[in-house]
Subunit: 287 residues, 2 copies
Amino acid sequence: MSEGDQRPIGVFDSGVGGLTVARALMDLLPDERLVYLGDTARGPYGPRSLVEVRQFTAEIVGWLAEQDVKFAVAACNTATAAALETDPIDSPVPLVGVIRPAVAAAARATRTGRVGVIGTVGTIGSGAYDRTMAAIAPDVELVGQACPGFVELAEGGRTTDAEVRDIARATLDPLRRQGVDTLILGCTHYPLLTGVISYVMGEDVLLVSSAEETARAVFRRLVDDGLDARRDPAAASGALHRFAVTGDGRVFGRLANRFLGPRLSGVGDPTAQVEPSVWLTQEEATA
Amino acid sequence: MSEGDQRPIGVFDSGVGGLTVARALMDLLPDERLVYLGDTARGPYGPRSLVEVRQFTAEIVGWLAEQDVKFAVAACNTATAAALETDPIDSPVPLVGVIRPAVAAAARATRTGRVGVIGTVGTIGSGAYDRTMAAIAPDVELVGQACPGFVELAEGGRTTDAEVRDIARATLDPLRRQGVDTLILGCTHYPLLTGVISYVMGEDVLLVSSAEETARAVFRRLVDDGLDARRDPAAASGALHRFAVTGDGRVFGRLANRFLGPRLSGVGDPTAQVEPSVWLTQEEATA
């Protein structure tokens, strides 16, 4: 058994969206420590030029290297498009993006050979998904659709109301008419919108989450290279993660709650307040 | 616009596994309040008889009805097998299980018509997946494989080490040899093991999570029936959920941390400790 590699994994995004990738990594690799950077002071990256985003990505990867990460994940479609798939930067640490794992998964999953991809205006406009699909599976036809407003809906926690459904219908209608059978969620915010996206596209359309596919790709690479962390027997439970932002930590904190999971006071703490039930309780839960 | 329905959704399981379903519901339906019951005093249900589990489920659904839920989700494959798919109970509230949504999704996704399902000994032995697939898609061949030990690995947070990979290889090898192209995760614990399951089965095998498919089915049903909750403008952020257990609340609390998401002190709180970064910080995060 190899020694493994106890150094953390770096994860970065222009803001909170990459937390869906971080959460998928925490699920699949509970012994890995993450260092997450949200570049909230300069995000969102969508409206920025690819040249600018490429420069920001190079800076962030440099900072993550200083944090001694063993591996960096660009948990941001725009950064992946700009700094990995268009004009690759020279990274001081191994760097993985979210586009390739999702494209590969969609190419494998499609039955009709007609795949859709949705993302921000910047990501779709970059053509990075088209180039990656052409390289991986030239026979698959890829139809892109920018979804302005989806990020704001996800961050606002608006996923069900009639107006949201109308926006989703109007935005996704071109894709529906094109008859795609598989749809790549090409923005890390979109996993929170899979309810309404699936509702509008129809159950027959398979959704491919770049967050989940990327987490599986990272799992595979770490294990293949013997770089997965070995559990610290002294650790109480799970790894400790660090989150850093370049902008306002409070705004990030509020949004992070929505992306990382529910707000339960103290769950996971031995003195947690898990609401006790008097129903059939054999041993009362501690308050 | 209809009034909606502000009553909570009931979710239950024999323990913590159903929290993967609860989390998917929270993601897709952030305005819904959940009442979760983990029947930890009598769980796991896997080794119990279907007659017993059917009786437990009837009791729990009765209790959830007393909590005034609008809808109950059996977030437990064994309970779904026993009380919905084998000999349906007479439920006082609309009741949805995890088997049908996953089977329907797998039947739609398979390209070769050969689908696998993994679960506990009890779930696989019940034949509920086979009957449901036969009813929904009689042309699809379903291959079941019980995975003893997987629940313990997921609860223990063991997902990567060499022994885990050996267990997964030995357990899943029959399915690999059968050449399934789609695999249903027929246990609510298994989403936490998708890294190693995908690693062992190979990237070509599509994984269908009963947790996610069930959440999408609930979304669809609530919206179609106009039963989705309307946001309370007074609410600060998101809905408040209640968790109840029949056994030890501390054990549940510790495991819930692993299932619901990472343990970040105070994220989501306006006074949260989001670790500030000095790198390019424009406005320092509050401690």
